[in-house]
Amino acid sequence: MPQTNGVVSLYLKDFRSYGELVLDTRAQIIVITGENGRGKTNLLEAVSLLSPSKGIRKAKTTDLPKFGSKSWGVSAGVLHSIHGDLQFGVGDLGEETPKKIIRMNGETLKTHQDIGKMITQLWLTPAMDRFVVDAPSGRREFIDHIGWTFNLEHATHISTYEHAMKERSKLLKDGVRDKIWLESLEKTIAQMGVAIVSWRETVLVLLKKIIAELLIPSGFPRFELNFEGDIETLIQNKSALEAEAFFQEKLGLSRELDAIKGGSSMGPHRSDLSFLFCPKNTPGYLCSTGEQKILILGLVLSSIKLLELKSQGVPLLLLDEVIAHLDPIYRRILFDQIKNLKVQTWMTGIDIKDFQDLRSHSIYFSP
């Protein structure tokens, strides 16, 4: 089996349903199968905690120890294309104040963000089944997550934008109409807003290239992605500086309306990522459940490939119960894509027979 960058060993101690577990995971695809309640998703969650986030369940550290234990730990050997063999540890020592600690080669990382530079993860869970039709914020956050993984400035722009927007809203709500103060905040909002939208567009162009050059030629159904919003329209016709000036002027003119409605009716926080399922020329929100699953899989697969190409971290793809809504044809297409991606992928499912087509690239585990 070819050696793939990724997790090569996993050790769990008092984590969720596991007292102690040692796994050899030297494979491109790790398939975890078993009946409900056997701890399949717990394993994916353990891997997902090798990141700055709270993992696939967004759980608190106090929810993670096995019943009866205060501490928990997840340790992983990782093969990295540049740094070679690395050892990561994530856990809580069970002290007075619960605290997640992340270590790399035995040293505690100063910030949790540092692990994100070494391991970049994407996951798809049943909780994301309605991704295409749910509130636009989830779709924006997904693209933003991709965006800042290889451009940290994007994260700074978003936090500054949100902070400035909150400051402006508070001034307007409190009836403060200090022209200079508001102008200062609106200038920042406009600069950050245009920068955010421009970077999202850059990410989308890169994703479209991967979809066109990698996914579609190997049989994935054709689909389109587009960002829609006022600022997106603006930057198509104007330079960045002109767009900033126009956006700032609009903010200045809409102060009274924004004071009543709260927030702002214009800006990257109003943008939305739309899908088009080309075989039926149908917008994503009108597609069947299976077609929506294919759309989001297309987005996730192209995104992990983009991260593999652009970031220096080891890419990991976690797919929890993804084949549930897929017919045999779509399953085969998905499996072909996963094999072609050459990114370590962790998958869960009920029946091992469903994953037989992956056997040349996989190791199987049943908790």
């Binding site: 940290l152 400035e153 700074t156 500054t160 902070h163 400035a164 909150k166 400051e167 402006r168 508070k170 001034l171 409190d174 403060v176 200090d178 200079i180 103060w181 102008e183 200062s184 905040l185 200038k187 920042t188």
Partner: protein, 197 residues
Amino acid sequence: MFGQEIQQLIFLLSRFPGLGPRSGRRLALHLLKKKETTLLPLIHTLQRAAEAVKVCSECGNLDTSPVCSICTSTKRDSKVLCVVEEISDLWALERSGEYHGRYFVLGGKLSAISGVKPEDLKIPFLVNKIKTSGITEVVLALNPTLEGQTTLYYIRECLENLPLKITGLAHGVPMGGELDYLDDATLTTAMMRRQVV
């Protein structure tokens, strides 16, 4: 476990900036164990500081006289004024020994969410002081945060039509710093504003 006096001492110490319950306990124990050499001299010093230290009426610095030694010094350049957010920033710049002008301490930064308004920062007083004191350069040494930069822009706008040079601090690689340990935003700014050497 402790008497009320010790509990109160630990509580007060643990509320100091940078301290918590554990360091509060450690500090209290240290003070109580070294009563003669540490605790009593500290009480005496605190008492004297409370009575003697005043806020400078000109710049907002702390000193034992109503107008601080920086504002009264004839060796300092009275035509250059450096605006900082906090007294700790003033002390930091003084440690560098590089700046020889005078200061103005805002006492914070504009923040709608925290309810800090221009009047709270004495900005109208600052503008009036600049207009009437023959100042030729204002250095806005404010932090590169959203609130810091909003405050900078606000003051700059208030001073817009005055015959002044308005400057800000440079951003970039710190002395002794290693590039590998710098955050991406600092590195990007440093690269964008690179200089001929």
